[in-house]
Amino acid sequence: MVKVVLWGSLKHAADGQTEVDLEAENVREALDALAARFPKLKPLLDRGVSVAIDGVFYRDAWFAPIRPDSEVYILPRLAGG
């Protein structure tokens, strides 16, 4: 099990939760597990998010590995100027 933290705005689509324990060994599994558990989250995740694993930001990196003790944050998709 890994603990995944959602940014505040997503909690409305996740039954009010911001921390979710789930089984996932990479980003794709984590996102799929979230979407399966909270169908309302799916469109928000599909629109594009960043996933921070142990402080490193990933965009669209399905296979970035997640360890059971990883710190995992789902955050808005980063953009820049």
């Binding site: 505040g8 402080g55 490193v56 930001f57 965009r59 955050l75 953009a79 820049g80 100027g81």
Partner: protein, 754 residues
């Protein structure tokens, strides 16, 4: 002048860190370089856009018949020529490049013509008749959020609130971040300061207006020459809007005359393609400066409340902020980045931020250097400054006491790895600027800033030529010297002289997809891909040498530009240089090239501390900047001159944002200062030299330790300036720009002058 401070850099470099001349330099000092507007095509037409003079109006009817009949007019396009895409983000772009039911801001495109000359095209625009039904407008963010405000989009419902609203609103989204218990933290505080701040919308202000040359043939194949931060983005967006196959639209990036985020989307490009398709001839479009201001993206204006509580010893117990950003006529203001970065510089137990993304009758905002961060840094760093003053602590010490460090849980969630914030603060404290004496009416301000940086999709190709030279193809437009840094990294890795590498920006048909030049990503991501492509090439070079020597490829290593047997056991062969291997490439298996494709991660966050001295004229409120120093972490400065340039440019833009630049709207919702005369960017005589201190805290996510440097430098200056002006004026300024009327008013009401 620059000082370099390296921390923990293990690798010694031969070329990286030196300052060779940029490879595109001669072209740019002789006028040979071709920018967006510098390309012509045989039979070319000139395209112009008709723009709404109204801030908010229903478009009842468009009559182009007279324009179409004018001799020399070859095509006219309107909303009817664009099919609204299903994808909602693309649909917004479609509506932005050509208005549909409503014109949503002064300058919104409503029609376009292509004609044999600019003069004919201008005449044709006057012949287009539009029936408008003028609607009430709103351009201020707080006004747009009020009940009863004119609604831009009847279908817009605020996202991120529960229960889901049933009524239309101008608030597109609510974002929330934070951790801990702010109420509890505030209760523990000895001192709490709460203030509200406003910042004006500012434009990226690139000197080159948007320009492109489009050509679409009857077979559906198209070519586009365009000044953009990302030609692959232009290709995908335009192909989507025009229903073309990506493969059939080849986009070539011209030299680009500045972007700063403003050229990360499309405006005239799909219009030029539509005109060309309709006219069957190439169409060139060049925006006027007036159009650039009215119709391309400035950044958001903001309204922000900040509340911070501290113990008497200076330790922060809780921090919160509410941010309201208007992003123009469509959702997508960078308020979430504002809310994430607000307290990123501080190690906090209790922190909470809420951001509202609001639409108004202004041009759709576009990214601007660290989008969303400077405004909130202005607010937060102003309160931090006031708190430090209140307890009589040096503002740098106050920040050092509370600064984020490795292992800090950031205000947006993730835990920081090795970061350079404290190093910049300590460097600032040691710097002579910190203790230099100040005269009457002068003030000193400091502020910190943070930006994420990112990597993104990157694809690079590196060709070894038979004569031992190297061609490097990247897909990221060179906006500030990146061809020099790419060449440096390739040469470093290959062990050949810098001059032997020629880096070009390849078109969309020649290379795989590359994300836009933004997010301070190019030196990091394209640099990483370049290094990896070079390593791919050296692996192949070693293999060729191994073939020549008749030994296994694993027994050959690449060192100092040569393939060498790995050790005495591998055999006794004289090392082969890159040129020697290249010369026999055809005989040893064919051309040699290195490639690398990656969605680059691990960009590494970046921090800066800025320090400014300035003088306020107590009789007129005019601010004169006297001295400015930037302290920023670059990870590893590949070409220090261009790193300094990024620091200096960010600081200068921030100074302009702080004291003069602003979008000024009348009650009619029309932009009143759509030109460089009254949109006042700093001129040479407004600024002092801008000193820079480059710190190098290597980024573990990059082979050379590089961090992006382009954006962070615009985050601290707004606040540093506000803190300095407040010190000099003897009263706290909370609204940008700190224009002379505003500063004088503050002085006369509360300051030293009173």
């Amino acid at each position: 002048m620059t000082e370099l401070h390296q921390q923990g850099a293990k690798r010694t470099f031969k070329l990286v860190g030196t300052r060779p001349l940029r490879p595109d330099g001669i072209d740019k000092v002789t006028g040979r370089a071709r920018f967006g507007a510098d390309m012509d095509a045989p039979g070319m037409l000139h395209g112009l856009v008709l723009r709404s003079p109204h801030a908010h109006a229903r478009i009842k009817r468009i009559d182009v018949s007279k324009a179409e009949r004018l001799a020399g007019v070859k095509a006219v396009v309107t909303r009817d020529d664009f099919k609204l895409p299903a994808d909602s983000a693309l649909a917004d772009i479609c509506r932005n490049v050509m208005a549909r039911e409503k014109a949503l801001y002064d300058g919104h495109a409503v029609a376009a013509v292509a004609a044999v000359s600019k003069a004919v095209a201008r005449k044709a625009l006057q012949l287009i008749k539009i029936d408008y039904e003028i609607l009430p407008n709103v351009t201020d963010v707080d006004a747009a959020m009020k009940p009863g405000a004119p609604i831009l989009h009847e279908t817009l419902r605020t996202e991120g609130v529960e229960p889901k609203p049933r009524k239309a609103s101008n608030v597109a989204r609510r974002h929330e971040f934070g951790h801990g218990d702010v109420a509890k933290g505030m209760a523990q505080a000895d001192i709490v300061i709460e203030r509200s701040f406003k910042t004006a919308a500012t434009h990226q202000g690139y000197i080159e207006p948007h320009a492109c040359l489009a050509s679409v043939g009857p077979d559906g194949r198209g070519d586009l020459w365009v000044c953009t931060q990302g030609h692959f983005m232009v290709r995908n967006t335009c192909a989507g809007l025009l229903g073309m196959d990506a493969s059939q639209l080849r986009v070539t990036a011209s030299e680009i005359g500045g972007g700063f985020g403003g050229k990360t989307t499309v405006f005239i490009e799909p219009v030029a393609l539509a005109l060309s398709r309709k006219a069957g001839r190439p169409v060139k479009m060049v925006m006027s400066r007036n159009e650039v201001f009215r119709a391309t993206g400035p950044t958001s204006s903001s309204s922000i409340d900040v509340k911070i509580g501290i113990k008497k010893n200076g330790r922060i117990t809780a921090a919160q902020a509410e941010l309201r950003y208007q992003g123009g006529a469509f959702p997508g203001s960078p308020v979430e980045f504002g809310a994430m970065t607000a307290f990123a510089c501080y190690d906090l137990e209790n922190v909470h931020t809420v951001g509202y993304d609001v639409v108004t009758n202004r041009p759709k905002q576009a990214a601007y250097r660290a989008p969303g961060a400077p405004m909130v840094a202005h607010a937060v760093e102003s309160v931090i400054d006031e708190l430090a003053k209140k307890i009589g602590m040096d503002p740098l010490d106050f920040r050092l006491l509370n600064a984020s460090k490795e292992g800090t849980k950031s205000s947006f969630g993730p835990t920081y790895g090795p970061i350079g914030l404290r190093a910049t603060l300590e460097e600032a404290k040691r710097h002579p600027h910190h203790t230099a004496p100040l005269g009457p009416n002068q003030g000193r301000g400091v502020a910190c800033g943070f930006w994420f940086n990112f990597g993104g999709d990157t694809c690079v190709s590196l060709n070894i030529n038979v004569d031992g030279t190297v061609g490097l193809s990247v897909g990221t437009p060179d906006i500030g010297g990146s061809r020099a840094s790419m060449s440096l990294m390739a040469a470093e890795e290959l062990g050949i002289p810098y001059e032997k590498v020629r880096t070009i920006v390849a078109d969309t048909a020649s290379l795989g997809y590359n994300d836009v030049t933004d997010g301070s990503r190019v030196t990091f991501a394209a640099g990483m891909a370049t290094i990896k492509a070079a390593r791919d090439a050296t692996t192949k070079l070693c293999a060729r040498a191994a073939k020549v020597w008749g030994i296994p490829a694993e027994a050959v290593v690449w060192e100092n530009g040569h393939a060498k047997p790995a050790g005495p056991n591998a055999g006794n062969f004289a090392p082969m240089s890159l040129a020697e291997i290249a010369a026999v490439a055809s005989s040893t298996g064919g051309p040699i090239a290195g490639h690398y494709e990656v969605n680059a991660d691990g960009a590494g966050v970046s921090f800066a501390t800025h320090m400014v001295d300035l003088e306020v004229d107590p009789d007129t409120g005019k601010v004169t900047v006297l001295r400015y120093t930037v302290f920023q972490d670059a990870g590893k400065a590949v070409h220090p001159s261009y790193v300094e340039g990024q620091y200096q440019g960010g600081a200068a833009q921030g100074i302009g944002w702080a004291i003069n630049e602003e979008y000024i709207y009348g009650a009619d919702g029309r932009l009143q200062n759509a030109g460089f005369l009254d949109y006042r960017i700093p001129v040479a005589s407004d600024l002092p030299m801008i000193d820079t201190v480059i710190l190098e805290i290597p980024n573990p996510g990059h082979p050379y330790g590089v961090r992006g440097v382009g954006e962070t430098s615009i985050v601290p200056p707004l606040a540093a300036m506000a803190n300095a002006v407040s010190a000099a004026a003897g009263t706290r300024l909370t609204e940008l720009p700190m224009s002379p009327p505003r500063v004088l008013k503050a002085i006369m009401e509360n300051g030293r002058g009173a």
